[in-house]
């Protein structure tokens, strides 16, 4: 979506339009309507695009979906590759050798460290570390590096690169890996690779600890930030969904889907292949993205609470939906977060950032566990499928939440029907509610909207880790964002522009 900043469209409503918003998967638009008093009457978060992957994948050799679907996103292609590969295992009814599953999870853990670090340091970090009221020229990763020091900035970049190296070692390409096949992975790793990966994993654990320390020093030590995090403006009481292992601990690669209610009690636990019994999707005429909701509760609109079918996914939801972390250092941090924020579940959307760093540490610890697994260099990484292809469902936890790939293939292994539900879709209702609530809390009596205020509204959706386009399009802080503010007579009173 491109907007001509010089165009003077004739305003017809008392509305604030934020279009395009970036740093999320694809395009988004926020329409804020003001009432006669200049307060926020309603806010709509529209997704004005449709990529069409589910349609144009029809008729393709089904194994190609592991190559095509990662192109949905340049930031989390590994998540699509993994969900797709797992769906292909199911389509071909083949169980990969144990080492193949471990190699997939190892790649995935390295990816998680890099992805969560990208979000914390490049996207959300500047809001906290540099400050929500700082000018966009400073509120970016360069400003962040300036604030925390070159040494820490160097650590961030180093670990992004090292973790991508691990992805490339196993997956071939460090963006859009290609190693996943029904029945395993395409290549084993050597002892030489393993030694390198173990070393990177150990370094990543230290990096995870450092990141949590930065959160402590910069964010948690600042009372104003803590008040903002736990304040009502950024809070929604919803259901939460996440993958858990056999001990109900957080798992990114495999397990059962568990849902807890707004009080933290288990509401449902099911195999990912049964998702259609639990999740349905609601369509609104003003957006191309559907709203998933809990089928048993039904769609009650964009409202939170125990009677609403709205649930949320992604880091905080995963931690809320699980009983703990499967690795020791992350578990200690998990306990510390909940004791600091007053017990489970935590409904404060901005606590998502804290949860994300705990997950980063978990992923790093998991890298070390897998890299030191005695069978990780086992060359037996493939099981050749022999059954007739059919239907298959693959689920992983993408950094942005539960990712479901569901394929129907014919007997020749040709894709006939595809359904994909991505993390941001599960969170759509949550994001929409968060934007509305933040707008209502922050825009009062038609007050002039400042950059800082605008940024706080954006923080409501940024917490959900919208995918960034920065890697290929623009640097953080150069967000092509235009906000037009109109008074009750429809006259434009202010235009803010970034980029």
């Amino acid at each position: 979506m491109s907007i001509d900043p010089t165009s003077e469209a004739i305003p017809t409503e008392r509305r604030i339009t934020i279009d395009p918003i970036t740093r999320l998967e694809g395009h988004g638009r926020i329409e804020i309507f003001l009432d006669q008093e200049g307060d926020v009457e309603n806010a709509y978060f529209q997704v004005p695009e449709l990529r069409g992957f589910e349609k144009f994948c029809e008729g393709r050799p089904v194994e190609d979906l592991a190559i095509i679907t990662p192109r949905i996103c340049g930031v989390c292609p590994e998540a699509h590759h993994m969900a797709s590969t797992k769906a292909l295992d199911a389509v071909f009814k083949v169980d990969p050798p144990p080492v193949a599953k471990k190699l997939r999870e190892l790649l995935y853990s390295a990816f998680y460290v890099a992805d969560h670090a990208t979000h914390f340091y490049a996207l959300s970090g500047p809001d906290f570390v540099v400050g929500p009221d700082a000018s966009p020229a400073e509120r970016n990763i360069i400003g962040l590096v300036h604030k925390v020091g070159l040494e820490i900035g160097g650590e961030v970049l180093k670990h992004l690169e090292l973790c991508h190296d691990v992805v490339a070692m196993i997956g071939g390409k460090y963006i859009h890996p290609v190693c996943g096949l029904p029945g395993g992975v395409s290549k084993p790793i050597t002892e030489e690779d393993r030694v390198k990966i173990e070393e990177i994993g150990r370094s990543a654990v230290e990096f995870g600890k450092l990141s949590l320390k930065i959160l402590d020093d910069v964010v948690l030590a600042n009372k104003a930030y803590v008040d903002m995090i736990v304040g009502d403006t950024f809070t929604h009481k919803t259901y939460y969904m996440g993958l858990v292992d056999a001990n109900n601990k957080v798992n990114f690669y495999d397990g059962m889907l568990r849902v807890v209610d707004p009080e933290g009690k288990e509401f449902a636990k099911f195999a990912p292949s049964e998702y259609l019994e639990h999740i349905a999707e609601h369509v609104e005429p003003w957006t191309y993205l559907k709203f998933p909701y809990l089928k048993k509760l039904g769609w009650k609109g964009l409202v939170d609470g125990k009677d609403s079918g709205v649930y949320r996914v992604a880091p905080l939801a995963r931690l809320n939906a699980a009983d703990g972390m499967a690795t020791p250092l992350a578990q200690a941090e998990y306990e510390r977060m909940y004791s600091t924020l007053g017990g489970k579940p935590v409904h404060a959307t901005l606590a998502m950032h804290w949860a994300r760093l705990i997950e980063l540490l978990h992923a790093a610890e998991r890298m070390v566990e897998l890299a030191t697994d005695p069978e990780i260099t086992n060359p037996n990484v493939r099981t050749i499928p022999s059954a007739t292809p059919g239907e298959g469902i693959g689920v992983v936890e993408a950094p942005r939440g539960v990712l479901i790939h569901h394929y129907h293939a014919d007997e020749r292994g040709v894709a006939r029907k595809i359904n994909l539900i991505v993390g941001t879709a599960h969170n759509y209702a949550g994001i929409a509610m968060s934007i509305k609530k933040a707008s209502q809390g922050l825009i009062k009596k038609g007050a002039v909207v400042t950059e800082g205020l605008l940024n706080r509204i954006e923080m409501a959706f940024r917490a959900y880790d919208p995918c960034l386009a920065c890697a290929t399009h623009s640097l953080p802080g150069q967000m092509p964002l235009i906000v037009s503010i109109y008074d009750a007579e429809g006259k434009m009173v202010q235009r803010l522009r970034r980029g």
């Binding site: 979506m1 449709l50 390409k173 096949l181 005429p285 292994g413």
Partner: protein
């Protein structure tokens, strides 16, 4: 209920953009100064391009930068011998020899029809090139080039056998044009396939026929 281009909500009207029936390349919509191929470009090439920008060493506008002038086969270190095959395999069906050319083992690899410079990372994990760097210099139609390369290595003159070999790969056209269909001569797949050269049968032949027909239409 379906998404609507215009929709009345209690507070006012919301709009959504409509869709076009054609996918266009970037250069078909806006002037492009330089083309950096790859989905995505590898980091070494991105670095090289940035370096060139900083040092003011860019070639004439409209050029391809950040890639080589040869095909992926030149980046690939596998042993390449006789390309005569009697059947295609899908990647999950066999465990190929990791030291030999994948095409020679019957796995469709877009290397011969794809611009190099990536260092062949997919081949390094025993998976075929899928063509993400686009066509090599002087090739307009990447998929057509790959189809022709595939046709030339099938070790048979028997139409029925050729048909059997090509039919091992469903949607051969989609496989060959995985990247860059909007930039091809083909542009889009027609729903009705009538005209193709007499005496040629099989999926491969039909698609080559399509290609020939479409090519003739493009001035």
């Amino acid at each position: 209920m379906r998404p609507q281009l215009r929709c009345q909500v209690p507070e006012g009207e919301l709009t959504l953009p409509k869709f076009y029936d054609t996918v266009q390349t970037l250069a078909q919509v806006v002037p492009v100064e330089y083309f950096v191929p790859g989905c995505p470009p590898v980091k070494e090439q991105t670095e090289a391009v940035l370096q060139a920008v900083m040092e003011g060493r860019l070639p004439a506008p409209g050029s391809v930068v950040g890639a080589s002038d040869r095909t992926v086969c030149y980046d690939c270190t596998r042993i390449k011998e006789d390309k005569r095959i009697r059947g295609f395999y899908r990647p999950y069906e066999i465990v190929p020899d990791s030291s030999r050319c994948l095409l020679e083992q019957g796995i469709i690899c877009a290397g011969p029809a794809t611009r190099g410079g990536c260092g062949a990372p997919c081949l390094s994990v025993n998976m075929p090139c899928r063509g993400c760097y686009g066509p090599p210099p002087n090739v307009v139609d990447q998929g057509g080039k790959l189809l022709s390369a595939l046709a030339s290595i099938i070790d048979s003159q028997d139409p029925e056998e050729i048909e059997r070999v090509a039919d091992a790969i469903p949607d051969l056209l989609g496989t060959c044009y995985l990247f860059g269909l909007p930039a091809s001569l083909l542009r889009r797949v027609r729903q009705d396939r009538k005209a193709f050269p007499a005496g040629v049968t099989g999926e491969l032949a039909r698609e080559q026929g399509d290609l020939a027909v479409m090519t003739q239409r493009v001035p």
